[in-house]
């Protein structure tokens, strides 16, 4: 904050003399104002605030009941009586959601195993959060711009990113739309309005707010959606994004995946207040807490949130409570910081199984279809991986492009590219066999 230098300095004495004079002159009328209801208040640049004679503090470490979690089915998938469901899922969308969740589950398992076998450097599953991502994605419109964290491949899958595209990105081959630039799971798709993943946590939150501002100025009816974990919500960028979204008044939906862990840090160590939902009101943002394992609840909450964001051009916050069933990533072994009992009890509440139960209850799905689908999906994932592994890696000719815009490389990069080619020519042993020089 810049120190503003005063043109004239008022001495302490002259300020106090002035104030004293004013107070004595206007004593009774200035001190309290009455709005007619008997409440006293003071009028400040930030607005009117009521007065009280009580010396009481509000807040403190988790006082009183926590904010309730909206859900429409129980932990087994049975509908709960009296739950408010403004948008019931019809057969078509339910089957689409279910199949997407099952594909996600299969894809996550097989890609994870492939990494363990050394086929690519890194992978991150979304086990336990399939309902959070797919359920929320189903409630969005295709033109809504998604700014995800890294565990939202379910959103991409829902929108139509193919198994081949996932595989190509993981293998960094020359069919990867990302041209082998990003490490695994850092997907991006302009056509599907899914921004390329930015690794530093929570940087996507201000991005989503800025993009929402652009949407607002253009008069669009789309929203931006920022996904983030409860751990990322501790970042400074998250605070700035919430405050800013509220003051700028933009159509941004914040979806927090509170999955209980930030690598090894349990949520109980991440914050002392009532999770992320309780922060909403502090910023003037409407917020709701939802069972992240309940597809219908996620769908309805996000659909309502989206409508509010568009109708009143303001941010809305959804906190989805779930559990990260898998390790943080392939670089983690979570058995080191949590018990197998805990993990087992949550696997029993697998969101995919919960939704399957509900879909079968509607007579829209059967065990037979389930078996067949699982076999086919597994086959499809394995085939996509086999194909991707055969494709040559991204070529050297793409190494220096896209640093800057425009068809031509700046002179310094042109020079460096020429030097690289020359070095490869002079020492062919430097070039791996699966690395083409020029794009095929």
């Amino acid at each position: 904050m810049y120190l503003i230098r005063l043109k004239e300095s008022l001495s302490c004495q002259s300020i106090s003399t002035y104030a004293w004079g004013c107070l004595r002159q206007i004593s009774t009328s200035l001190k309290t104002q009455d709005d007619g209801s008997g409440t006293n208040y003071i009028d400040l640049p930030g607005g009117k605030v009521p007065l009280t004679g009580n010396l009481t503090f509000i807040g403190g470490p988790l006082q009183g009941p926590r904010i309730a979690t909206y859900r429409t089915v129980d932990m087994t998938g049975r509908p709960v009586d009296g739950a408010h469901v403004p948008n019931n899922l019809d057969r078509e969308i339910s089957i689409k959601i279910y199949k997407t969740m099952a594909t996600l589950q299969t894809m996550d398992t097989l890609f994870y195993e492939a990494q363990r076998q050394g086929r690519f450097s890194f992978y991150l599953t979304s086990q336990g959060e399939e309902a959070t991502t797919v359920g929320s994605a189903a409630a969005l419109h295709p033109e809504d711009i998604v700014f995800a964290q890294y565990r939202e491949q379910g959103v991409l899958l829902w929108r139509g990113y193919t198994l081949a595209q996932f595989s190509n990105q993981l293998f960094g081959n020359n069919k990867d739309p990302g041209k082998g630039r990003q490490m695994p799971i850092h997907y991006g798709s302009k056509e599907l309005n899914y921004h390329t993943i930015s690794s530093p946590l929570a940087t996507q939150l201000p991005h989503a707010v800025g993009a929402a501002y652009a949407l607002k100025l253009s008069g669009s009816n789309a929203v931006t959606v920022a996904y983030f974990g409860e751990g990322a919500a501790s970042e400074g960028d998250a605070h700035a994004a919430f405050n800013f979204a509220a003051t700028l008044e933009v159509p941004c939906v914040f979806i927090c995946r509170n999955n209980g862990y930030a690598i090894s840090t349990p949520a109980s160590e991440q914050y002392r207040g009532d999770g992320i939902v309780a922060r909403g009101p502090m910023y003037g943002i409407s917020a709701i807490r939802v069972d992240g394992g309940d597809v219908r609840a996620m769908y309805n909450a996000v659909r309502e949130a989206r409508q509010m964001a568009v109708a009143s051009c303001r941010p809305v916050l959804v906190e989805a409570m779930s559990y990260r069933s898998g390790h943080h990533s392939t670089s983690d072994d979570s058995s080191r910081y949590r018990t197998t009992d805990e993990m087992r009890s949550w696997r029993a509440r697998d969101p995919v199984a919960r939704f399957r139960y509900w879909v079968q209850l509607q007579d829209w799905w059967s065990d037979k279809e389930e078996q067949a689908m699982r076999v086919t999906t597994r086959q499809q994932v394995l085939e996509a991986m086999e194909e991707a592994a055969k494709v040559p890696k991204a070529s050297v000719s793409e190494m220096f492009t896209d640093v800057y815009s425009g068809p031509h490389l700046p002179w310094n990069l042109e020079e460096q590219y020429a030097n690289t080619l020359k070095a490869l020519e002079e020492s062919p042993e430097l070039k791996p066999s699966d690395m083409p020089i020029v794009s095929q």
Partner: protein, 360 residues
Amino acid sequence: MLLIAVQSAGLFRDKVSPMLRQFSLAMRSMASSEMTVRDALNSALDEELARDDKVYILGEEVGEYQGAYKITRGLLQKYGADRVKDTPITEAGFCGIAVGSAFAGLKPVCEFMTFNFAMQGIDQIINSAAKTLYMSAGQISCPIVFRGPNGAAAGVAAQHSQCFAAWYSHCPGLKVLAPYDAEDARGLLKAAIRDPDPVVFLENEILYGQSFPVTPEVLDKDFTLPIGKAKLMRKGKDLTLVAFSKMVGYCLTVAEKLSKEGIEIEVINLRSIKPLDRETIVNSVRKTHRAMFVEEGWPQCGVGSEIVTVIQEHAFDELDAPVVRVTGAEIPMPYAANLEIQALPQIDDIITAARKLAKK
């Protein structure tokens, strides 16, 4: 072999040289009026806001307050609160928001009250703005300009005086510009705003109030300068002096003084730190065979390190003497006026170093 930087120390100076107006000696003969750098920047912003409704300005105090340094004076009144946004105090926040809006197609001009405060948002500048075009394989561009005062001002000490030219020019994906006079300010800022890539625009607080001649061409609403080209401010045959921003003015004064001693100095105004105009620098050294770089920033890994390296890599055989750097003292900027003067290159320091180099 490189000569280590000549630091500003009491030895080389016998009196305080006041930081007065420096005139661009490469005056166009058709100069018809004068303009302060502040007005140059303000008029450039005004014209670009009028030209393209995707352009907007955001930052602390840019609107109602008319800008902390009055660079955005009158713009809120003219274009409204949608185009000139006052932000809460969060560099990480408004920088990230500006970047996000650029991803979505707007063209933000993000003002930092000084680039010192930009460090609180530097992740957004480097990891998001600079790298996203590459990471997204050309799908997402970031047509943003980050601008504000850079480097030393006067009496604002350590946390308000750092020069960031070296840091930003290090990173691929960014373009880094440093205007000196009013012509630079107008031409480079307009070019930066029209450029599809993220540009870091390093201004200088002391130069804001200084007047420079401007031609009708410079005042044209479509006047832009090419990014990546340095300007030969003054021709000479004995010595090449390279600088950017305020030090260009100092070098011009030095050149004028030393020409009375028969030393003809060629002064290069970099204008663009990234991309660097290597050709202009090397061509000059081929002519003069002696080179010196002046900057206010710190010596280690400063912009001067790159200039010296470029010269020795591409014109080693042309050199009659090692390249010299004159830089700021390697200390956090002290407050006391006498100490601050000692910590920065003064005209006399540059004169002494240039004389010494010319006689080698």
